[in-house]
């Protein structure tokens, strides 16, 4: 058990960015993001004995993290508004944290299923891998991603 816990912590520790990103994408406030982070770590720990290395560990983590984020029901809150202008992505002087904050605010304007799809796309998963993780066809992944990209483009160009 102690040995398994050590391997688990090393594995999760090495890829904890995934959990941070999913938490920020699915929750609005830092407190809620922390709670979701903890819930994801807890669910990963419970699922770890069943992980058979049939997929990459990062794919397994994404699957559990996205499922956990969507499995916890929360009362609908008013939609996130993106009143602030997007940062200029070409402008190197724009601070990284500002760009990051805007990125996550933009992602939170999308529906929950759209967030799952775009996060996998941004993470460089192929359409086949996204289809396998979400349970929809590759063609449909393409259709959905085009729509999501259009929505994000609208947000990005709203400044201009």
């Amino acid at each position: 058990m102690i040995f398994m816990e050590k391997i688990f912590l090393e594995t999760i520790g090495a890829h904890q960015r995934i959990i941070f990103k999913v938490s920020r994408m699915y929750r609005n406030t830092p407190e809620d993001q922390q709670d979701l982070f903890q819930e994801i770590v807890y669910q990963l720990w419970r699922a770890f004995p069943g992980f058979r290395h049939e997929s990459k560990v990062t794919t397994w983590m994404y699957r559990i993290a996205l499922n956990t984020a969507m499995a916890s029901y929360r009362k609908q809150k008013p939609p996130v508004s993106l009143s602030e202008h997007p940062p200029d992505l070409a402008d190197a002087s724009e601070s990284t944290s500002e760009r990051e904050e805007w990125l996550f605010r933009a992602l939170r304007t999308l529906g929950e299923s759209e967030r799952a799809l775009i996060s996998l796309y941004l993470e460089d998963y192929s359409y086949a891998e996204i289809a396998s993780l979400t349970g929809i066809s590759e063609n449909y992944v393409g259709v959905k991603l085009s729509r999501i990209k259009e929505k994000l483009k609208t947000l990005l160009t709203s400044k201009n």
Binding site: F8, I18, R24, Q38, E39, V41, Y42, Y73, L122
Partner: protein, 179 residues
Amino acid sequence: MNIDDLKSDWHRAGNESLSEKELAMMTRVRNHPTLRKLRIKFITEIVALIALLLLYYDGFDGAQKPLPINIILIMSILLYIINNALGYFQIQNPSVNGNIRVALAKQARSLQRLAVLSLTSSVVYATALMIFFTYQMVFTQRKYIILSALIVSSILLFYYSWISWQRKIAHFRRLEADF
């Protein structure tokens, strides 16, 4: 502007880092934001219900009521405890295995089963308590009014509880359909 420009920001994001010790603490129920509170609530309710089971016979004249009434009360309390345990188990073990659509469908199905059990156990428990405490009672008009108010309040509570369950279930079905 290309949407792929967002990829570099995505890859850079989430560079906060927790130590293995901090991560290890998150694997324990006692540090879990929701489960810890739920476990305390669950244990408190079980202790109160077991106390009721142990004391009702002497404290509420169980000996003077017929055996079937006693059995109904005991069964209803046990059913209520089982429902609480299953509810806790469901929150501790949401459907996170399988692809996202499968997990959402499973979540909706298990919530539907839990909703039926939860409502059934609450109705049975409330009915058993009312039968137990009103058995051989000499009714006056005032007592009828109080009993009627209790029944109406209970029905309203059951109704709102059902609506709340259905809202949760509809949320997961909608999410599944969104994919």
